[in-house]
Amino acid sequence: MNYFKYIIFGIAATLCNYSFAQKTVRYDLFVRDTLVNFAGKEKKAYSVNGQIPMPELHFTEGDTAEIYIHNELQTETSIHWHGLILPNEQDGVPYLTTAPIKAGTTHIYKFPLVQNGTYWYHSHTKLQEQVGMYGAFIIHKKEKQELPEYIMVLSDWTNMKPFEVHRRLHNANDWSAIKKAKIQKGAAQSYADAIADKSLGIKLVNEWKRMLAMDVSDVYYDKFLTNGKAEDEAPQFKAGDKIRLRIINGSSSTYFWLKYAGGKINVVASDGMDVKPVEVDRLIIAVAEIYDVVVTIPSDSTAFEFMATSEDRIRNTSLWLGSGIKQLASPLEPLKYFEGMKMMNGMIKMDGNLDDMGMNMSLQQMDMNVVMYPEITGRKNDKKTKEHDHSQMENQYNSNALSDIVTLNYSMLKSPTKTKLPDAPTKILNFTLTGNMNRYVWSINNKTVSETDKIMIKKGENVRIILYNNSMMRHPMHLHGHFFRIVNGHGDYSPLKNVLDIMPMETDTIEFAATESGDWFFHCHILYHMMSGMGRIFSYENSPPNPQLPNPKKALKRLYKDDREFHFMFENDFASNGNDGEMMYMNTRWKFQTEWRLGYMDEHGYEAEAHFGRYFGKMQWLFPYVGFDWRYRKMHGDVIEKNIFGQYNTKDLRNALCFGVQYTLPFMIVADGRIDSDGKFRLQLMREDIPISKRLRMSLMYNSDFEYMGGLKYILSKSFALSAHYDSDMGFGGGFTFTY
């Protein structure tokens, strides 16, 4: 009898639970084209339910989320639920896990919520995330939380179209550095800036080692936003209140420093997962990363600034907590770029690989960038007078040892519960993060997503990834549909995350239990790096077919299209002595390039050359090509030109096929050796865009046909420049250059 009672009780309890878990929360999201004015100009963007960021979505653990996406755009879209554990076809990566949401259609997402915490959602289609498609996704704990909460969605805004941003990055266009230099002197890191900083030697070594100006972030942003505003306010809080801030970095490519004017910041969760509370003065939040922090309002009638500053320290955005007179946080001082350049000079080897000099860097503990932070390593003019032979290598870059400012790093994160993986066979993968700033190629083990096969994993095994960052930028690596543990010395209590920020030269180990099925993306969350192919796909063996992708092969091709995309570039100099220009059409490895020099008279000649070739090697210094060369020039009398090799020059009329190879030498001088179908050799040395000052660029060329050229360009705007050059064929000319 007693037995029976228990069973009844048990069933009742289950039913009770069941009905609680069965609560379905529905949201309807309408994606529309919109016009916004964030930074002085009206620009196109995408809004959801009329707002940017997308609306906050609130749930309770155990709910079922049912979300209708109504695509009212002219183009297809998608929504990815960042950090959520859900069935593969709900993950929202178009062509990989989920059907794309075509223009004018509605797509229904439905999945149970098996976790709690702060998460976010965003478009995973093309560059849509940059123009407004990001929002907060909060899953509350079942038990009521005692602290009041506030959500802070950070984002970056540029008045330039994201397509243009991406195209210009691939063309090594430096307009964004000029824009930054308008705000912060020296940010262009030209030769003139180097001389003013007494750092000419550093700049020379930097160019010798084939590096472009140090860029802490690639893109110039016109505004940074907190919940869609330059400054957001939360006046409802009073003195003594402790507030849980849920901070989501929804920006496309900006890391932010977080500081609070009202005292310490208590970090309590990261990427949705609780951590043992840790008190810091500041922290950096990587792209797509999430931190929950607790801050206190220390006094009455005052609004305290919670400030987010972009990593390049060009601008900030703030949240004011409390009401009354505004207590400012102290701004971060400008970076000491040439100190950073000096540090990079020391770390980079001639072959372009990085050398950590045996420092075993990991987990953000040794921040090489501290050499650029005045608040940690002092201002430039206070520089120490003499170097000491005893300099302590192990602390040279340790921010927390160098100053009183406590900066959060991953070794300080500790899980409150055991996170040990089940006993199972472990698959070990080594990923070296690779990149090339000059051509904006980003990859893993020097291969993009489309250049590799999916990585097959088995359900039930553990996967350990050892990441080494051999590129010069930091990367926020994100894994879909799983949490990984960061192996950080806390053993069984290693923290769980789904985004790992890895700095140059760091080695970090992450591991996860393979418990799902289907295909899952692992990629750098800097939007432009992801679109360039920095990622991998994990694929579970023997997964059931995905009903949303009836033709998986075709779908995969569409996904690969992203990083195979060709970028177009055009430049023409309209000068007094002729037209001079080039056009390029290129992707990760291939480039089609044509150049022309068209005089206004027969004596000045007409020339056109076209090349098609492929880049080789991680640094892409080697470029063999085939091409075609056509030229016509009327010569006076019987002038016969001879080249260095004693061969006669047929400049007057030439139609020739040519085969050649370009190689980038130190100082970024491009050596170009070629032979044409008439048997003529030509060797040419050329350096373009030498940064003389903020806006002044110089080009030099000399070849074995005794042709030479020298030119100066003064950049007026993103498309126009004043130019002057001297050319051995066409003489002196001046005019303006148009660049697309």
Binding site: I325, S330, D382, K383, T385, H388, Q392
Partner: protein
């Protein structure tokens, strides 16, 4: 000929009139209160606010009133007052960041009346008079030690400018000490060290060069160590030693934390040294 002459006269006049300062278009004028003390403050406040042809601010040190003329199409009072606060000066709209205020020279350290006290730290007054006296005494010394630690931190950062400012603060705190309320033992030690302390911290304040500051800092630290023995501070202090400084003779300093951050070498060899005594 005459017209050429006219032109010659006209050109410089034109140049003069365009380069003339203070010509603000769409000018609006407001008066606001900005806290501050002296002429030095006036300079800092005005240069933080002023922008050629956009903002002109005039601050009066007696009335603390500032008259701001600004170009209404280009800026607003909030932007201007924010810059003033970032330079260290509280005003009607903004409170200066803690470190901006702390970085002001001693004479500019105005009373921060606008800043509301932190609620947790307003402790109810005690009726025990001896306790009050005791707390005043230790407060006297505490202020000295606070200044000393700030000076040390500036030396750790190899920041000569801040070190100079902190040394000025230290001198001010040393001069403030009221000897009449010191305990006997404290009085004895104080009489021994105070002259040397004041002299040496003045030297640090005037030295432009970090190396000279560090040399003087050795002596200051020795005296502070003696003072510490009788100061009865609430928190433990660590007495630390670097064996290399002073041509290998070694040098000592005091720190609030056990981790070594060497004020004699800064980042050159930051963690050189060890704790030799913990004073509680």
């Amino acid at each position: 000929m005459k017209s050429i002459l006219n032109l010659i006269i006209a050109i410089p006049t034109l140049l003069l009139s365009t380069s003339c300062d203070g010509q603000i278009k769409n000018a609006k004028t407001v008066t606001v209160k900005i806290d501050g003390n002296c002429e030095m403050c006036e300079k800092t406040i005005e240069s933080a606010a002023n922008q050629k042809k956009v903002v002109s601010l005039d601050w009066n040190k007696d009335t603390k009133q500032a008259t701001i003329s600004y170009d209404d199409s280009k800026t607003n009072p909030d932007e201007i007052l924010k810059r003033v606060a970032l330079a260290g000066y509280d005003n009607e709209k903004f409170l200066a960041p803690g470190d901006a205020y702390a970085g002001l020279p001693g004479c500019c350290k105005y009373d921060r009346n606008r800043k509301k006290s932190e609620i947790e730290k307003t402790i109810t007054a005690t009726t025990d008079t001896t306790a009050i006296v005791q707390s005043v005494v230790s407060n006297q010394f505490k202020a000295i030690f606070d200044s000393y630690f700030e000076l040390k931190n500036a030396l750790v950062k190899t920041d000569a400018k801040t070190a100079g400012l902190k040394a000025t603060d230290l001198t001010i705190q040393l001069n403030k000490v009221d000897m009449s309320i010191l305990e006997n033992s404290q009085h004895v030690v104080w009489m021994k060290v105070y002259k040397n302390l004041i002299a040496k911290s003045e030297l640090i304040a005037t030295a432009k060069n970090i190396e000279n500051q560090r040399t003087q800092f050795m002596d200051v630290s020795e005296s502070m160590y003696k003072l510490l023995k009788v100061a009865k501070l609430a928190t433990p202090v660590y007495y630390q030693h670097c064996p290399m400084y002073n041509d290998g003779k070694g040098a000592n300093w005091l720190s609030m934390e056990n981790a070594v951050k060497n004020p004699y070498y800064g980042s050159q060899m930051l963690s050189c040294g060890k704790t030799i005594e913990t004073i509680k």
